[in-house]
Symmetry: C2
Subunit: 705 residues, 2 copies
């Protein structure tokens, strides 16, 4: 115990004296975490948590309010409780680890509400990494179909924390990440809630999103608050009582304000609190979220392959020369004959451009080429709240689906399909089987989906129960066709890629595209692993070599706020089984030596080593390529230069290896000299401590073999 103030000691001890006699206690396997559960005098469920005797959560109440029905908040009696232990291993289809240990102590609390005859269970799992709990609604006569008005799960912190947060919002996770004390959030909220298309900030309460990363100011703790296995339930946001440091669940409503429609047997997602006194352990503990998800049930997963890809994409943002749309006609309909439109001469998804990308992918070892803008409808797809923007099966007149897929196949490359839905879930679902059958027929095996805009059904939200179910529906349907999914603007992940391993990656955060409009703060990617990535892989689309966008002569003065070397490091620090080399092919050819790292880096891993980590400051991660004697390290810093110190304890004993380092030059910086990198080769062995300079906004990528 360190830095534990007298005040927090009192906070810790005080509630204990009020507890009823039947407090149930649960210890993590290594006993670093202790949780307690009790019913208060009104029969209200409460729990608390401490870490190595530091209070993490003061007694916090649990329960749910229902629509047109008695609440499940109080009046409970303890029926039964069961302690169990789990310690097992499993192997993901792909991931950061080839094998994952699932080890926890479980407490199942069975409650009865005598005045209604209903039962409610709460299941707690205490891992060494943190606490998880969920509500379980057993099959029972007195509770069959019910509607959630709100979940009232409290997380009553024992003191103020520095928080890495996004404004609460029902539709978007694409805010810049704010950093402040919890107590400062009320003042900071308005400025943090920047305009974003199709946003629905929570105005009724002070609320933030999860994953929420917290850093103790005095107690040395790091806490990560999120959820796992979000299925058939709305996403959870968190109301904040900033004076009492109390967070409380806030579910995303549907079009008429209800929060969830459930049928017993049912359960909530897991609410997860990962706790550590070393930030590195937080990153390593994203496995806890995976452990809380169900195994997949696919018979055959041989078709699911991590991959690297390039795409016709970044040129839409920066080059100013090309567009998704084939013409400059506006106010178009799917029923229009697009071949009668006058081509604007700037269409990106032309046969010629696709062939050029396929050639590049084939020559440099990429698995796939994403082609956005191949299909009709882009002329005014944006911001219209329009249901039938796209049909997913009709190419523009200058895109020959059959010929281009045949060409790609002849080169051993796949085209990656693109399904922008414009937020029209209804339209996509009714066309989904046909869209996937079209892909199957033409040889596509992966699709990037997009949900830009206000959802249809109108009034529904990207993070509501309907949308949550939609994204899972798409993943399941895709599996029927052996199609891999990369979803953008979907509900942020909660470890569901364990259950649906063809759902390779998601965006669901502020990614590289924002480097073209306003830029991403240099500390952004030092926080993302602690927030967005805790739930699953992100299609961040790294690899921008030409970071000064004035280069294109389009009038943009925008700088991508990293050095080139930092972009390389992202391939290791920002985990995804689907990694894009997002820059234009011609830019890679200008820096072939640096490009070599992107060509070499693996996308599937046997093991992962969190070497250094501090949210908002730096992240250094090493990984062993799956099935290869090759290791990769990425190290990044925020706006400040630093010396990264990398302990190579993970290398096998007794051998020496060649390490190629792709680092910032001494005079590099994201804003002044981003393309100044140095490549050097060293011989390394286990136990070496490798130190290297990281420039402001810089990074280091290492390939060891």
């Amino acid at each position: 115990m360190r830095n534990l103030s007298l005040g927090s000691l009192i906070l810790l001890l005080l509630p204990l004296s009020l507890w009823a006699q039947d407090t149930l206690r649960l210890s993590a396997p290594s006993e670093n975490l202790q949780a307690s559960f009790y019913l208060d005098t009104q029969g209200k469920p409460s729990y608390s948590l401490q870490y190595k005797e530091i209070p993490v959560l003061q007694p916090s109440s649990l329960g749910l309010a229902l629509v047109d029905d008695e609440d499940l908040l109080a009046g409970f009696q303890l029926l039964n409780h069961t302690h169990t232990t789990e310690d097992s291993y499993w192997e993901p289809v792909w991931g950061e680890y080839a094998r994952i240990r699932n080890r926890y102590q479980e407490l199942l609390v069975e409650l009865a509400q005598p005045n209604t005859g209903r039962k409610l269970n709460i299941r707690f799992r205490l891992f060494d990494e943190g606490l998880a709990f969920r509500y379980e609604f057993p099959k029972q006569e007195q509770l069959t179909y019910f509607i959630l008005q709100e979940e009232h799960s409290q997380f009553h912190l024992a003191e103020d924390y520095k928080a890495f947060w996004l404004p609460g919002d029902y539709d978007t996770n694409e805010y810049p990440i704010s950093s402040s004390l919890l107590s400062e959030i009320p003042q900071a909220m308005e400025a943090a809630t920047i305009p974003i298309h199709a946003q629905s900030p929570i105005r009724s309460q002070l609320a933030v999103q999860t994953p929420l990363m917290l850093k103790g100011t005095t107690n040395g703790l790091y806490i990560n608050l999120h959820e796992a296995a979000l299925i058939d339930y709305p996403a959870m946001q968190l109301n904040l009582d900033a004076e009492n440091f109390r967070l409380e669940s806030h579910l995303v409503p549907d079009a008429i304000g209800n929060k969830g429609y459930l049928q017993t047997p049912a359960q909530s997602p897991w609410r997860t609190l990962i706790v550590a006194d070393d930030a590195r352990q937080i990153l390593a503990a994203n496995r806890m979220i995976l452990n809380l998800n169900e195994p997949h049930v696919l018979e055959d997963v041989s078709w699911i392959k991590p991959m690297k890809y390039i795409g016709i994409w970044w040129e839409y943002f920066v080059a100013g020369k090309s567009t998704w749309a084939y013409s400059d006609t506006t106010n178009v309909k799917l029923s229009d004959d697009f071949s009668t439109f006058r081509p604007n001469g700037r269409h990106g998804a032309t046969a010629e451009n696709v062939r050029r990308h396929v050639d590049f992918a084939a020559e440099y070892g990429f698995d796939a080429v994403l082609v956005e803008g191949w299909n009709i409808g882009w002329e005014d797809w944006f911001g219209k709240w329009k249901e039938e923007v796209f049909d997913f099966v009709t190419p523009y007149p200058d895109f020959d689906v059959e010929a281009l897929n045949a060409y790609a196949a002849s080169k051993g490359v796949k085209l990656m399909m693109h399904h922008e839905t414009s937020g029209a879930i209804t339209n996509y679902e009714r066309r989904l089987d046909r869209a996937f059958a079209f892909m199957e027929k033409h040889g596509y095996n992966s699709v990037k989906t997009g949900y830009v805009g206000k959802l249809i059904p109108r009034g529904e939200h990207h993070d509501g129960q309907l949308a949550v179910n939609h994204f899972i529906h798409v993943a399941r349907r895709a599996a029927d066709y052996k199609i891999m999914i990369n979803s953008h603007e979907a509900t942020r992940p909660t470890g569901l890629h364990r259950t649906y391993p063809n759902w390779l990656a998601q965006e669901s955060a502020r990614g590289t595209e924002f480097e073209a409009f306003g830029g991403l703060a240099p500390n952004h990617t030092t926080i993302l692993p602690f927030t967005r990535l805790m739930g699953g892989p992100m299609d961040y689309t790294p690899g921008i070599f030409q970071t000064d966008l004035s280069y294109y002569g389009t009038g943009s003065q925008q700088l991508v706020q990293t050095t080139l070397a930092k972009q390389l490091a992202y391939y290791v620090t920002l985990y995804s089984p689907l990694q894009m080399a997002a820059d234009l092919p011609e830019n890679y050819l200008r820096f072939p030596d640096a490009f070599q790292f992107i060509r070499d880096v693996a996308v599937d891993w046997e093991d992962t080593y969190i070497l250094e980590a501090e949210p908002g400051e730096y992240v250094s991660i090493g990984r062993k390529a799956k099935g290869q004697a090759a290791w990769f390290i990425g190290a990044i810093t925020n706006e400040n230069s630093r010396t990264t110190v990398l302990d190579l304890d993970f290398l096998p004993e007794g051998k020496t290896f060649e390490a190629t380092l792709y680092g910032d030059a001494a005079d590099a910086s994201w804003d002044k000299n981003p393309q100044a990198y140095v490549i050097e080769t060293r011989t390394v062995r286990r136990g070496d401590r490798l130190e290297h300079y990281l420039a402001p906004g810089g990074g280091l990528a290492i390939h060891i073999r």
Copy 2:
């Protein structure tokens, strides 16, 4: 002109003096109807209508209010106007007539709103049968995507009328039909709004539904107010100002209160006012609604066939012996293994029962057997607002899809599929291709769809734009698989069966099922042709021979409120290309001579003759079978006995024919002696006047050959 009071003459003349100079006038081809259009001093569009110099509509304003945009209500200038004339013929795929004349005078009014730069057209078509108009939103820069807050189309009647009306409701058309003066509706509304499952009565305004049938109390006029070609727009209800006899459009809102999302070029449905001084002309004028719909675009319609069917259906309502559900288990999920449930022994859709019905259909010449309750999910499908009640592809353990379809095929009979959606449009759309592919694979060529319950997406309504589009989507998808649709609980029809001829019939009103719970008033079916059927065929499911339900010994004392003979007459008076013989097969075998009429009656017609008609009192219709020298007549009365007088002017000259009459016996009545019928044969010829007694709640069916 008859019965025209001085008061209404003044009402007619007064507004004329206020009109701007540029009043545009339009006459029906035969000049019986005169319409006028003008812009008032605020640039508000107005129109009026008169019939043989009787004022039908006083000046009534037109326009639309938009969400977050300037309204399209006033400030208009007349840009241009065009008069055109149409006189042509077309042939429906099936129908009441083999050939339909489309003859009207058209006035296209092109308006501009200088302060917004927007254009709005109003297109009027004046037929001899009535007036139709619609809004057209031309493609233009200043109006592309827009949201309707409300349509404000007024129908300002010149006096009080007797109305045949349903309470305004966003979700159901299954109210009993009320009859009262318009001025009496305020007092009558509460009693008329009886409880119906999943109803959404309009409480904010006094409103009624369309088709609204009106009968002049002094002027001798009959008016029918409805709409035609309802596509991509919400259904119209009518607000009523009962003091001033002014009706005004009230569109059905979506989940968040908006009324329609449009993109130019777009148009509203046609608003139709059919006007006559003889009620028979109203019924004949349902062709006007068809004329206002677009022709179909199917290349092949050979697979679309009117048909007669029986079904496993009525036994669920009356016999008390069978159920849709396979078991009495409750709180089930699609993921459950239904074969583990204990069969309740009363499941209707058993192999044995299906075979029995197939045998009956084959022996007595029916085309198909509807089987409800064949698929898993019925255990608690009702009233749960549950999304995934049915999957449309999984039979109950006792229903062998393959064997039963093979058996039916061997007998030359089709099984009719049943897709109850429980109101979950989302669930149905995402499964639709698979559901239809399943039907195609197993040999089904028609499906009865159902939408019982509150819709999902939650907050949407059966008569909103989303649902309107859904029903059309289903019809179009079905055509891809050569499947015919019979939709229940869908938005009431507006003549779309011309455009989608595989959409054979709909329920969308109070049909035979209500004879099992409370009964249908004896006048109900004398009004339906003037209301519900104006828009299209109804799957009324007639043919109940065993009208006293106490017969089944299940405790029901319910009487079907017709005589047996009236049930026969329905096959002619209640037009549908899809006619059910709804009673249990064994009941038909008890009355084989009467059953002969159902076996003989045609379901597709060359011509139709409205012989007698008065809403609420009686309807007598003759029809010539398509491609046969056979005529059928149905005559019905309300609770009062009457003598029907049928002029056989429609028979060909110079021949004699044998007429078989199926009529009420002298001592018959719906409540005391419903099964007392007499069958007689007469020789008839053109010009004969055939008179026959109709008992209270009785009818007469005639087969002439």
